[in-house]
Structures are given as structure tokens and as C-alpha cells.
């Protein structure tokens, strides 16, 4: 345990300053979600309105919101799980293997790191249409996996490289196949990187806007970021309603995080010297 003797004043100060910075916008989001569009400009933006109500929440829920939420979950999980598995296997191969094919694959992955989504969106659109996948959640999932792979491979490969060679040697001496070694040795030891990659990709896809916009159309396939549309008109944005939908879409995830935080953090720690 670090620094347990003297209270860490500087650390506490910075922490609370940062807390203020984090909390103020969140506070604003909550009180605004309780206002109505007509009183929104009339009241002090930093104070709750005297007649706060849940009208905006009712409005949001009635606009097909649960459906969008479910779609977002399906897309996020459906992207993250395959990405992590595929990227892990590829990273393992690149680190443990040799030969031209793998070196070439590695460089190819690296070149895919900074692909700007807006640029490739039209060719992707064409491919999806030809595959007859337009307006399905799979249309969002497949390209999302493809774009998430390069960075995941990079991060995972860096981590796998760090696993002591002695451990691999001892596995091999015991007669384990590469496949077994991969899942039984490397996979558990790479847990921190796996968690990092999962969270990063999960959040990217959860908030992803462009792919759902281009590759889906009907409201039944919409994801949460598109749901904010309902409140964005040609000329104006119903800010309180947007804030209500933000609260509704974030709350379940916050609860999930609060409950699963211990697991998450312990997943990020792994020791090699067991």
C-alpha cells in the first residue's frame, strides 16, 4: 500500500477539483432534463426549475427508447466479443510465430489503425448492400469488428510479448499444443489488456454514430445515438428532452459499472510472478 502514513493532501485536492469538473456538467444534465423547453431559457441554467417534472422522461420512453437501448446492447456485445477473440488469436500468432505471412499480416493490421470512418463509409455501404445486409444490426457489427481489430491486435500483442518466455517453455516441455498454451496460459495472463481492449471497443461502438446512420434505416434497427434525433429538429434541438434521454441511456450502464467495478479493476491487474 502506498503512502498510507500521511494523508495525501495534494492528491485529495486534485481529486476533488477533478470531481467538481466532472460533476458540474452531470448536475446540469440532470436538472435540465427536468425542465420543459419553454422554461429552459427563462430559468437560471445552473438552478433547477421551480416546476421540475418528469414530462421529458415520459416523452422519451414513449418514443421507442427501450428498443434503441436493446439494439445498442446487441451491437456492442456483438462487436466486442468477436473482436477480442479474433484479435487475441491474431496477436498471439504474431508474437509467438514467425515467417513472412505473419509479418505481413502485422504490418497490414498496423496500417488499419487510423482509418477515418467517414472516408470508407461509402465503399462499406456498397459492400453491405451487395451482401444484402442493409438495415440489419449485423451491418453495423461486421465493419465495427473490422475497424476495432487493428488497435486491439496492437495492444494485445504488446502485452503478450511481456509474458515471460520461461512460462511458454515450461508449457511446451509439458507437451502442450500451441492452442492449449494460448488459451490456458496466455489468455488468463493477458487479462488486463483484454479488459482494456474490451472496454475501449465497447465504448467506441456504444457511442458510434456514423455506421448506424449509414447502414440502417428503419427505427427498429436504430441504436441509441440515433435516438437523440427524435429531439433534434430541422432548426432546433429540444434540449431538455435530449438530456432526459441521456440520463435514461446512461443510468443503466452506470449501475452496471458500479456493481461490476470490483471485477473490472481486478481484471486489470494480473501478476506474472505467481
Amino acid at each position: 500500500m502506498r503512502g498510507g502514513e500521511r494523508p495525501n493532501w495534494l492528491g485529495a485536492l486534485i481529486a476533488f477539483l477533478w470531481l467538481a469538473v466532472v460533476v458540474v456538467p452531470i448536475y446540469w444534465i440532470v436538472i435540465t432534463s427536468l425542465k420543459s423547453q419553454s422554461t429552459y431559457f427563462a430559468t437560471n441554467p445552473m438552478l433547477p426549475s421551480p416546476d421540475s417534472n418528469f414530462d421529458q422522461y415520459k416523452f422519451v420512453v414513449e418514443s421507442d427508447f427501450p428498443r434503441y437501448f436493446l439494439n445498442s446492447v446487441v451491437v456492442s456485445v456483438g462487436t466486442v466479443v468477436p473482436t477480442v477473440l479474433l484479435a487475441f488469436m491474431a496477436a498471439y500468432a504474431i508474437v509467438r510465430g514467425n515467417g513472412r505471412f505473419l509479418r505481413w499480416a502485422n504490418t497490414l493490421f498496423l496500417s488499419g489503425l487510423a482509418i477515418p470512418l467517414q472516408a470508407v463509409v461509402i465503399p462499406v455501404y456498397l459492400i453491405i448492400i451487395r451482401l444484402q445486409l442493409y438495415d440489419t444490426l449485423l451491418a453495423i457489427i461486421l465493419p465495427s469488428i473490422a475497424f476495432a481489430i487493428p488497435l486491439s491486435v496492437l495492444v494485445l500483442a504488446n502485452f503478450i510479448r511481456d509474458v515471460p518466455k520461461e512460462l511458454f517453455e515450461s508449457m511446451r516441455m509439458d507437451g502442450a499444443s500451441e492452442w492449449a498454451t494460448m488459451w490456458q496460459l496466455a489468455f488468463p495472463l493477458t487479462r488486463p489488456a483484454l479488459v482494456t481492449v474490451s472496454v475501449y471497443n465497447g465504448l467506441t461502438v456504444w457511442n458510434g454514430f456514423l455506421l448506424p446512420l449509414i447502414l440502417t434505416q428503419s427505427p427498429a434497427q436504430r441504436t441509441l445515438p440515433l435516438a437523440l434525433w427524435t429531439f433534434q429538429g430541422q432548426y432546433s434541438v429540444n434540449v431538455p428532452a435530449v438530456m432526459a434521454s441521456v440520463v435514461l441511456s446512461t443510468l443503466p450502464v452506470v449501475v452496471l459499472y458500479a456493481l461490476g467495478r470490483r471485477q473490472l479493476v481486478s481484471g486489470l491487474t494480473a501478476g506474472f510472478s505467481k
Binding site: Q37, S38, Y40, F41, A42, S63, D64, R67, L70, N71, V74, V75, V77, G78, V81, P82, L85, L86, V121, I122, Y125, L126, I129, Y134, D135, T136, L137, L138, A139, I141, M171, D174, G175, A176, S177, W179, A180, W183, Q184, L213, I214, Q217, S218, P219, A220, Q221, L226, W229, T230, Q232, G233, Q234, Y235, S236, V237, V239
Partner: protein, 452 residues
């Protein structure tokens, strides 16, 4: 422990792999397939495959009026159905472009006409409707003639005008004017006189949502027109070389910068966007005295501004004349209408359905009444009686007068120009208002994209 006995053998490893990868993908497939048929939720609807498709914008109450029109049509025409989907404004603009580019556009293409329509025409993506209008003169004649300008490319009509007319209006807060003891401006000189008077009282002379850029463009449109007449912009639009260096243009550009330098606009205008309605709020909360904005803001101000509109505190007039200017002070700018085009790659059956919809579904009597009820003026001639009996009679009659008696109704520049030109224009306008480029530089930059 001996890893070999505990390890995977070949077949179970394949199973594991398939299961691990297949499960989520399968789940997604199932979920995806479940929802891929036509759905009956509030935002989408319509008939069987083979029916015409129609995409339009969200946001109530306009969305409801458009939806009603389609549903009425579908009910009256059981074997000619229209399937519709709604999109948010910016999302729609990206979406329609991708769709057309990939050859998958809807039958009825909703748009703003002008330069974008021209780009569709040049690419052969929309049908020439002139013959159809010739066969159906009744459809054409009942609409405002000025609505057909933006729908016309090289003398042929490529879109059906629809919905309402939206001129740009100079709004003012009557209460603020009374408090300060001044009259609404009748000329540019008046405006410059009013500026220091309002500033002295801590009230911004003009509200402006500058970050949106097209709000700043409105100022230029009017100044160009009042100083040199519509010919100035027309020259640029028609591709004349160095059209932007016309002395009248430079004069107008200089006047705008004069106003900025005199603190004519609310402090921090470059951070305010129009779509948050913050600029309107400045007017109805009395923090600003005047605002140059589109007629659509009237409805928003009525609902959001408390009793501002209902107690008659909102004043409105046309942009005043500029002393010594050549322009006709009755000229106005804005959106003469919204436009519906016919996708050239749709099937004949779909096109017939669409044309029937144009003739019977758009601006039917029912729809006219709906538009008027929400405080807008449909582009149909002869609705004065209905307007005068509506609850926003004064305003609507003002808009009707303005639109129908204007010497020239100019289309918003960013819609009239090609998308390439529009982008450069908005970019330079933002810099002009930031005072980071001079009028001459503006002219030079714009001259580069003439005809592009």
C-alpha cells in the same frame, strides 16, 4: 497437472471456436432479422415492397403534417402505396447523398432545390417533370410562381414544390423599443443610429447565432441585394468571372464588418448556434432588441417564449433599404418552398404512385389547413381568407404579403450554389464576421470557386 490430458483435442477446439465466435454473431443475426421487415412504429410506415418510398425530416409539428399526408394517400389508394422513413436534418443530408451515390435512393427525394438539385440533374439522378406539369397545369398554377425558381434547372422543372414559404424577417422586441424610446429602423442609417443607443442600455442591438454560419449569410444576402440589386449575386451564380469583386459587393461586405465593429451583434455571437434556439431566447428575454431570422422561428418563439408573442410584443418587418442602394426594398430571401424530386432509377410503377401523390396528396385542402394551424404559410395562392381567420392572422398575412409581392424572392445562397461553392462561401462568411479577412480577400476567395 499434465496439460496434455487437460488440453483440447482437435474436434472440441473447433467446436469451441465456432461456439465462441458464432454465438454473438448468431444472436445479432436473430435480433437483426427479427426487425428487418416493414415496421409499424410511429416513425415509419407504409405498404408492401414495390411501393414508392419517401424520406423526409423529423421534428414535430411538421413531421406530423407530412406523415398525415402520406397516410391519407395510402388510405385513398390501396394499390398504390408509399412507404416513408423519417430522418433528422443533418443525418438526412448525409444519408441521401450516400444513398444516391450507391444507387439506392428513395422514389421521392426531399430537398431544398437549387445547387444540390442541379448536381442531381447533372448526374442524371432525377427526372424532368416539365412534361408532367404541362399535362397537369392545375397543379402548377395554384402554387406561388416564385416557388418554381429553385426547382428549375436550365429552363426545365425537376421538382415539385411543397410545404410552406419561409422568408427571412427582421424581428424586433416591441417592449425593448418602447423602453428605450425608439422606432423600428426604416433604413440602414437608422440601424447604425440604433446600435449605440441599445448598447448604452446594455441591450444587444442584434441577436445572432453566428456559429451556424448561414445565419450570418442572411445579412450578406440582404445587403448585397439592397446595395446592388439581385444582379450582383446572379452574376456569381451564373459563373461570371470576378463577380464577387463588383464594387457593390465590396460595399456590402464592408458594411457588414462596420456593423460588427460597432458592436451591432450580441457579445459572443460566434459561439451561439441557431439550433439551440439560444438566439431566439435572446430576443424574447429582452437581452437583444432585434433579430434577422427565418419565419419558422415565429412558431418556436410562440411556444418557448411564454407570453412574448401572444401579448403582441413581437414586431416584424422586412429588411430596410440602404440609402443610395439600387435594390428594391420589397425583395426578400429565404426558402421559397421545399422540393420533392423523382428518382430517375425508380420503377415506372413507383413513379406513377409518386406523381399521383404530388397531384393529390401534396398541399391538399386538409394539408393547407394543417400548415396554417401551426403558424406557417403554404405556397398555395388564394389562402388569404383562411389566413385571416387563423390565430396568427397578423403574422401570417404579413408573410403572405411579403412572399407574394416581393420584387424578387431569392433562394438562400447556400442552397442556390453548388455544394462546393456553398462550403467555401460559409467558410469565408464566418471569417468575414470574425474580422479575420477583408472584403477584398473574401471576394478573391469566392472568385476562385465561381462555376464550380
Amino acid at each position: 497437472m499434465d496439460l496434455k490430458t487437460a488440453g483440447f483435442n482437435t474436434t472440441s477446439r473447433r467446436t469451441f471456436l465456432t461456439a465462441a465466435l458464432g454465438a454473438p454473431v448468431l444472436a445479432a443475426l436473430v435480433a437483426a432479422c427479427g426487425g428487418s421487415g416493414p415496421s409499424r412504429s410511429a416513425n415509419s410506415g407504409g405498404g408492401a415492397p414495390g411501393s414508392a418510398s419517401y424520406w423526409f425530416l423529423t421534428s414535430q409539428p411538421q413531421e406530423g403534417i407530412r406523415t398525415d399526408a402520406v397516410e391519407r394517400f395510402n388510405a385513398a389508394n390501396p394499390d398504390q402505396q408509399i412507404a416513408f422513413t423519417t430522418f433528422q436534418n443533418d443525418a438526412y443530408k448525409t444519408k441521401i447523398k450516400t444513398a444516391i451515390g450507391a444507387g439506392e435512393a428513395p422514389t421521392i427525394i426531399y430537398g431544398w432545390g437549387g445547387g444540390t438539385l442541379r448536381s442531381y440533374v447533372d448526374a442524371g439522378q432525377v427526372d424532368d417533370l416539365t412534361p408532367w406539369f404541362d399535362e397537369n397545369p392545375a397543379v402548377k398554377d395554384r402554387l406561388f410562381p416564385s416557388a418554381f425558381g429553385p426547382a428549375t434547372v436550365d429552363g426545365r422543372i425537376y421538382a415539385m414544390p411543397a410545404e410552406t414559404v419561409q422568408p427571412i424577417i427582421l424581428y424586433y422586441n416591441k417592449q425593448v423599443f418602447d423602453d428605450v424610446g425608439v422606432e423600428p429602423p426604416q433604413s440602414w442609417g437608422d440601424i447604425l443610429d440604433l446600435v449605440p443607443k441599445f448598447n448604452a442600455k446594455g441591450i444587444a442591438p442584434f441577436s445572432l447565432g453566428g456559429q451556424s454560419r448561414w445565419t450570418e449569410m442572411m445579412w450578406l444576402e440582404f445587403l448585397f441585394d439592397r446595395v446592388g440589386g439581385p444582379e450582383v449575386f446572379a452574376a456569381a451564380y451564373n459563373g461570371e468571372e470576378n463577380a464577387w469583386s463588383n464594387p457593390a459587393a465590396i460595399d456590402a461586405l464592408t458594411k457588414v464588418q462596420d456593423l460588427v465593429k460597432a458592436d451591432g451583434f450580441v457579445k459572443g455571437f460566434s459561439s451561439i448556434t441557431a439550433d439551440s434556439n439560444a438566439d431566439q431566447a435572446l430576443l424574447y428575454t429582452g437581452k437583444a432588441a432585434m433579430m434577422l431570422h427565418g419565419s419558422w422561428t415565429y412558431a418556436a418563439m410562440s411556444t418557448d417564449g411564454g407570453d412574448f408573442v401572444s401579448t403582441g410584443k413581437l414586431g416584424y418587418t422586412n429588411f430596410p433599404a440602404v440609402e443610395g442602394g439600387k435594390g428594391d426594398p420589397t425583395n426578400t430571401f429565404g426558402n421559397p418552398a421545399m422540393y420533392l424530386s423523382l428518382y430517375s432509377k425508380a420503377t415506372d410503377e413507383q413513379k406513377d404512385t409518386a406523381k399521383k401523390f404530388f397531384a393529390t396528396g401534396i398541399l391538399s385542402d386538409d394539408q393547407i389547413k394543417q400548415w396554417i394551424d401551426i403558424g406557417t404559410v403554404p405556397i398555395v395562392q388564394g389562402t388569404q381568407d383562411m389566413l385571416s381567420s387563423s390565430k396568427d392572422a397578423d403574422f401570417l398575412q404579413f408573410v403572405y404579403q411579403l412572399s407574394t409581392t416581393a420584387g424578387n424572392f431569392g433562394q438562400s445562397w447556400d442552397q442556390a450554389l453548388s455544394p462546393t461553392g456553398a462550403e467555401t462561401l460559409l467558410d469565408n462568411i464566418a471569417r468575414l464576421f470574425q474580422l479575420s479577412i477583408s472584403p477584398q480577400q473574401f471576394a478573391e476567395n469566392m472568385n476562385q470557386v465561381i462555376g464550380k
